[in-house]
């Protein structure tokens, strides 16, 4: 009787492992900083994170089109995005853009834009006792 139970369990574990591994393979997205993106210059869709550079945010009125640059402190990356942005989105905020880097236009075409909530737990005041 033990084999009756062990074998289905092994099958279940194998199937689930295969499910997890293959799902990772087909849905994984590389996550780069701006500098890493320039170093890799990927052909495929990926994610880039960086802070929105001051005085670079342009939003064409009456459209969903945004243009801005993000930086990791070392290099700057121009980003183009069409869609809705979250309420926190503004210059200086950290974002994660997912999309493709266009090597000809030298601009990152973002399909989605995630903004990082400013830390709830970071102390913004510097006059502690």
């Amino acid at each position: 009787m033990k084999a009756q139970i062990i074998i289905p369990i092994i099958i279940l574990i194998s199937v689930v492992s295969y499910l997890i591994i293959s799902s990772v393979k087909t849905t994984m997205v590389y996550y780069y900083t701006v500098s890493e993106l320039y170093a890799q210059l990927p052909d495929f869709s990926c994610r880039v994170n960086g802070k929105v550079v001051k005085n670079t945010l342009k939003h064409l009125p009456n459209t969903f089109d945004y243009y801005f640059e993000i930086t990791d402190g070392k290099k700057k990356l121009p980003v183009q995005y069409k869609g809705v942005v979250s309420d926190i989105f503004q210059e200086g905020i950290e974002v994660v853009a997912e999309g493709k880097y266009d090597k000809n236009k030298k601009i990152f075409i973002a399909q989605s834009l995630l903004t990082k909530c400013p830390s709830k737990y970071e102390s913004k005041l510097d006059n502690k006792k």
């Binding site: 139970i5 574990i13 990082k116 502690k128």
Partner: protein, 640 residues
């Protein structure tokens, strides 16, 4: 004054060491008076911590902006109720609140079990003291809620507007009541392992606690999803974000545990499995908190990286190695003598149910931790997002629904496949009919068909179980159908209320499938007075208007929603601008009914009141909230 509250925490911290010592002594010497001393220590620590909590709340109510925590999370104009709930809005205060809840749970447990389970109680107390010790150490070192500012601010920075909402107010407390609650079954399991009292006692003692914790965790997760849907304005309710996953993973193992203990109670099997499950659930609660607070995984809810992460890692490693070693060393004693007899049996179906839940928990955990793992191994950070989680969750959820449907018809010990299919004939026929109808309606997404089949199978099998049970009761007692129906439930609450909870799961999945596979969205720019089509609706944008009070001002759009020439409703999506916050907050306008939600977001506007909107169409989404309400109410009935 706040040095008093900090000192109270220091004393509590020192007392936990005393508590650990005295509880272990009580266990070794088998002296009850030492145990009583441990009980009294809990009471002392509880009062000291309550004192600290009261002082912190007082700081909020009195607008005392000399206290850094109050200055960061409150302001004068904040409504009183949110000043109080600001207690758990940030790192330090929420840990203080967690610690207080842990001590509250401990003294309630002690009060209910004073002289019972005397063999286990000493080590139960010792374990709870260790856990309290950890959280108090956080409060003393990296997360001190009583830091004083050099100069008190004239006004505070205010509470994050996203938290100024009743649902969001309750979301952390209910989640904590869930997470913290699992400390009790965990402590009993550890006591069981150490004392060698490995039979059903520890499970019987913690049955109610486990269910209560599971209930609160469920409520917390649902509140989080509903709040995300209503407040965040992205049209959805679950993003598979690391912080969301952190609460789901222990919920999955806890649900597995609630099922497998039934097998140990009835058949004395799965004893090792239950030990591992309850330890894992507690471990995952702490791991979830670690993921949420340490910022170790960049998520949309990111928090600051601070030394708090190292404290957690040490504690987590300690739990893992200590409990792992305990279980492995006592493996032979834990194992029961009974063995699973057949692949097709009620016992094995519970085991497979558990394996599926744990598989799902592992898959979600893997996806959540993947960025860290990939960076550690390959040097490159690789993330997975919603597509990964949906891909792994779909087949596992489908199998779980199927299993839930057929399990009541599988006999104990050794079932026959023939009997099983015979009992399921009507449900199978009904499910096939419905799936054929769906195919004829041109709905041919594989997963929709699969889920529809399993959901109908589940629903109809439960209806049949109730019908059979009521009829069987009627043939013995002279009761009418309604009487027999209710008596049936009351006389076997666990079984029949359990079935209703399963039914609520089916209802929730109807909502999930509808809103995941048939949803639509549209982005559009409209001039004042302009209309647009969206599905069967015609939406007319009239104009904007502004409102303000001392706490905030808001801009709202007036939308008229028509369907087939009748005005259905007016919606007012817009944005709130809080005085204390840099960023605006989205207020969505939703038109809800049982069939769908029309969900409207005001994205932006220009001076001439030309506005940009995003509309979402979420079919059947309210079935989720409805099913969740049934699940919660039924669990409460089960506890009564």
């Amino acid at each position: 004054m706040y040095s008093l509250s900090y000192n109270a925490l220091i004393i509590s911290f020192i007392l936990t060491f005393y508590g650990i010592f005295i509880a272990i002594s009580s266990s070794l010497k088998k002296k009850y008076n030492l145990l009583e001393s441990a009980y009294n220590t809990f009471i002392a620590i509880f009062f000291l911590t309550t004192f600290s909590v009261i002082l912190l709340i007082r700081g909020f109510i009195a607008d005392d902006f000399s206290l850094e925590y109050v200055a960061l999370h409150s302001n004068r104009a904040l409504p009183l109720i949110y000043k109080i709930s600001a207690l758990w809005s940030g790192q330090e205060g929420s840990i203080l609140f967690w610690t207080w809840l842990l001590l509250l749970y401990s003294i309630i447990m002690i009060a209910s079990y004073k002289k019972k389970y005397l063999e286990l109680m000493p080590i139960v107390c010792a374990t709870l003291f260790v856990i309290s010790n950890f959280f108090l150490s956080l409060l003393l070192f990296p997360a001190n809620p009583f830091r004083i500012l050099k100069e008190a601010l004239p006004d505070g920075q205010g509470l994050n507007p996203l938290l100024q909402d009743p649902g969001m107010m309750l979301h952390p407390p209910t989640l904590y009541l869930g997470f913290v609650g699992f400390s009790i079954p965990f402590s009993f399991a550890v006591a069981s392992l150490i004392t060698g009292n490995l039979d059903i006692t520890w499970i019987k003692a913690t049955r109610t606690w486990s269910l209560i914790s599971w209930l609160f965790l469920t409520i917390g997760i649902i509140l989080g999803a509903k709040w995300a849907y209503i407040e965040l304005g992205w049209g959805g309710y679950w993003a598979w974000d690391p912080v969301e996953n952190a609460s789901l993973i222990p919920w999955l193992t806890a649900t597995a545990y609630l099922h497998s203990v039934i097998i140990q109670e009835k058949k004395n099997m799965l004893r090792v499995w239950n030990m591992i499950l309850v330890v894992s659930t507690f471990f995952l609660c702490i791991l979830g908190t670690f993921i949420t607070r340490s910022g170790i995984i960049s998520s949309v809810h990111s928090f600051t990286e601070s030394s708090i992460g190292s404290f957690f890692l040490i504690f987590l490693s300690f739990i893992l190695f200590f409990c792992g070693a305990l279980i492995i060393s006592k493996l032979d004693q834990i194992k029961g003598k009974e063995r699973l007899e057949s692949f097709l049996s009620r016992e094995s179906s519970f085991l497979f149910n558990n394996l599926l839940f744990v598989a799902l928990a592992i898959a979600v955990l893997w996806g959540t931790l993947f960025p860290i793992i990939s960076e550690a191994i390959t040097g490159e950070k690789i993330t997975v997002a919603a597509p990964f989680f949906n891909k792994v969750a779909s087949p596992l959820a489908f199998l779980l629904l199927l299993l839930t449907a057929i399990c009541p018809f599988i006999a104990w010990r050794k079932a026959s496949a023939k009997r099983l299919l015979l009992n399921l004939t009507y449900p199978i026929i009904l499910s096939v009919i419905i799936t054929i109808i769906l195919l004829l309606l041109n709905i041919n997404s594989g997963w929709v068909i699969a889920f529809a089949f399993s959901i109908i199978l589940l629903g109809s099998s439960i209806v049949i179980e109730f019908y059979k049970g009521t009829k069987a009761r009627q043939s013995i007692k002279k009761e009418n159908f309604i009487q027999a129906f209710f008596k049936l439930i009351i006389k076997n609450k666990r079984r029949y209320l359990g079935f209703i909870i399963h039914l609520s799961v089916a209802i929730i999945f109807i909502g999930i499938i509808g809103s995941s596979f048939f949803n639509e969205e549209k982005e559009v720019i409209l001039k004042k007075g302009q209309s647009t089509h969206f599905g069967k609706y015609i939406i007319k944008y009239n104009h904007l208007f502004i409102q303000s009070d001392s706490n905030k001002s808001s801009v709202r759009a007036v939308l008229d929603v028509y369907a087939s020439d009748t005005l259905l409703t007016k919606l007012y999506p817009g944005k709130n601008f809080y005085i204390t916050s840099e960023q605006p907050m989205t207020e969505v306008g939703i038109y809800s009914n049982w069939k769908e939600d029309l969900y409207t977001v005001l994205v932006g506007w220009e001076e001439d009141e030309t506005a940009s909107f995003k509309f979402f169409f979420n079919p059947l989404v309210n079935w989720i909230w409805c099913g969740a309400a049934i699940m919660i109410i039924t669990t409460i009935l089960l506890l009564l």
